[in-house]
Symmetry: C2
């Protein structure tokens, strides 16, 4: 009865995820997959697997005609790119978890994949165990999406949760997250929002068929979030969350960005706490769908990698159907957002840059403005990048409201 | 590049879902699927499709060698069973949304499917657009599940939400749900919990490899829920939800049942309101995962059926890997549950049936007990089936706590 393809796997990387995969492959005969060789960087380290499985020579795996699948689980994005592109050129299918590498080379790698008629799967790269990519591919491939918004980075979510729950400031919460293994010793990719924008780049391809590199997508992380911002959120009944967001407008354009966001109780994202991830998908057919789970860590990542391996047995390939659609969508950056902007110095923000202003608050050491601003203006201001300024999204897609506000007579700033 | 299997479809049923499927198949060339014939019951009704597509003769589809896929979307479970089993015997793959038919014939149909080497897919049968089955098959096929609990029936969830939000009693809320199309004109299957137990039967097969029929799974619906129960829940900060639940114990046994349940704020199920569904999956690798979306209705059901059709292009089959596991799980019914039991008459409940009692409350017209009871005792009491008695789950899996309570000295009942 079992007519699945026999998989012979070459594994790059033997960290916690790699070792987990090795164990499951060994124990699960029904997967019809065998591990041929493991390429590691440091041959001196002791490993929980037979010595003859290991090599430090990548080509031993990449040039082995018996190996038909490469599983790539190393940290270095550049090395990963070399491995993955060479593997595909050699006619091998690839499973990878490297979101940074994918976000920066996706279009090229998909082209390579097509040219060599192999498969490239990477569920683990976006929200770990949560099957975001698979759902976008299979459940929304014939469906029209109106929005995808998600908490896609567990480290920042853990830090934001602790800042609100325990009154910690950013540095304290970061330190605790690092101690508990929820943040890297170098947390830059996470806390600056870069990891989230990498994942958003991959989501854009599957959700809308849009080819972008992370550099073209506006983003902001959480390092500038102050206890007074958390306090403001509490008073209004919000959680602050780092949300990666896409919104399809009425024209053939999609707005995408990563911003700290006030999330209200009515949203499923409100209940995504600690290191968890959650993705909310709005569509024409399936309506609102929410996927929640652990976005990183040994077991959740192993779970996603294993699912991809299992799918290769029946030659599963992503179809990128939205890329083949006759309606070509593109990113736009001329929508309006309602944002809360807090800052130490009252002169830091030029209110003339706002289309309208709803609130202005000033006190000793705490100032904020709530107003509507054009995305392209926002991401071109100097203050957006100023570390003493917090920009937190209040409401996306407010273009229709702005048209009713021709002047800024509402400005109350004294 | 497109080496997908060409699908030639015979469709049974042309209700709202069938018509939606017809339209998408017509418009989506990339699906590589054509609709050959549609079998309907009433030839007089006018239809939004060419007349030559329709027939009332099932055999015209089932005996047509050109048709390789039958999509079954009719209401009648017995007729659906005949169609599906005949289609499989004829070597055709099947997509169906008929949970009642599946729940009662699953083991037999899987056997038939294997014998004839075809595929039988039914994502739409469990929580509509939410890919519960696909996730259990693909994300948990190598994973050990600890629990699956879900709100799997939109009608009852809508009624319970409205009872709490608007202070309606059960009859009022049911009437409103029917007017808005969230409940059937004959709501019996939904409100008695039968629909939920049908879905739970299917979930048990995919999650644990357990073959059961719905008749063997204890269940209770929502018709007996009183405003005073809703009031009690509010005071404690709970929502009452009809939850289908499975729990794997430490031995090789699984407890499964459908019961109204107090759901606290800490659970993702707390935020499943109105007609939405949500399923919480606990596992060893992927940890806690939550899937949320619309469980029924034209578009969500169409979405799931289309996903199954798309998967047939690459001969996707459920593997039921848990059924092939060397560890054979079975249902058990000797676990303890903590339940709230409310009743009009103080003599209705025999407290001696409880292993321990935590609370007893008595007033004019409102009485309740909170206590721990053996599942097998609970489902064999007369009062469990008494329409003036509400049984609401407080906590499952409390066996370890009971062992510390050798007597019932805590009983406070006057």
């Amino acid at each position: 009865m079992d007519n699945h393809k026999q998989l012979v796997i070459g594994l790059f990387g033997f960290g916690v995820v790699g070792e987990g995969i090795y164990k499951v492959l060994k124990d699960t005969k029904s997967l019809n997959a065998s591990l041929q060789k493991i390429c590691i960087k440091n041959p001196e380290k002791s490993r929980n697997a037979p010595a003859e499985l290991f090599t430090t020579d990548a080509d031993e795996l990449l040039n082995d005609p018996a190996i038909n699948v490469i599983v790539e689980l190393i940290d270095d994005a550049d090395a990963a790119y070399n491995i993955v592109s060479k593997a595909i050129r050699g006619g091998k299918s690839v499973v990878t978890a490297n979101k940074k590498m994918l976000a920066n080379h996706l279009t090229e790698l998909i082209g390579l994949r097509d040219a060599h008629n192999v498969s490239l799967l990477y569920e683990a790269a976006v929200c770990g165990s949560i099957p975001v990519i698979r759902n976008l591919e299979e459940y929304y491939d014939n469906d029209l999406l109106s929005s995808v918004s998600g908490i896609v980075n567990g480290s920042t979510n853990y830090i934001l949760t602790k800042m609100a729950a325990e009154g910690q400031d950013y540095q304290e919460a970061l330190k605790q997250a690092q101690e508990l293994g929820f943040a890297e010793s170098d947390p830059t990719l996470d806390v600056e929002g870069i990891d989230a924008v990498n994942k958003l780049t991959i989501i854009l391809k599957h959700a809308y068929g849009i080819d972008e590199v992370p550099d073209d997508i506006p983003y902001c992380g959480i390092t500038q979030i102050k206890p007074s911002d958390i306090q403001y959120a509490k008073e209004k009944g919000y959680h602050i969350r780092l949300v990666a967001q896409t919104i399809q407008g009425e024209d053939e354009a999609v707005v995408a960005f990563v911003l700290p966001t006030f999330v209200g109780k009515e949203s499923q994202l409100y209940n995504v706490n600690n290191e968890f991830n959650g993705v909310l998908i709005g569509s024409k057919l399936a309506d609102e769908q929410f996927l929640y789970g652990k976005g990183a860590g040994r077991f959740p990542t192993s779970s996603a990698v294993l699912s991809d391996i299992a799918a290769l047995r029946y030659d599963y390939r992503y179809e990128y159907k939205k890329s083949k659609s006759s309606v070509k969508l593109a990113l736009k950056n001329n929508t309006f957002l309602k944002v809360y902007v807090s800052f130490d110095s009252r002169d830091a923000i030029d209110q003339a840059q706002f289309a309208s202003i709803d609130e202005v608050y000033k006190s000793n050491g705490k100032n904020y403005i709530v107003g509507v601003i054009d995305v392209s203006v926002l991401f071109n201001t100097e203050w957006f990048y100023d570390k003493q300024v917090s920009v937190i999204l209040v409401e996306a897609n407010v273009a229709h409201k702005v048209s009713n506000l021709s002047t800024k007579e509402e400005v109350l700033y004294i």
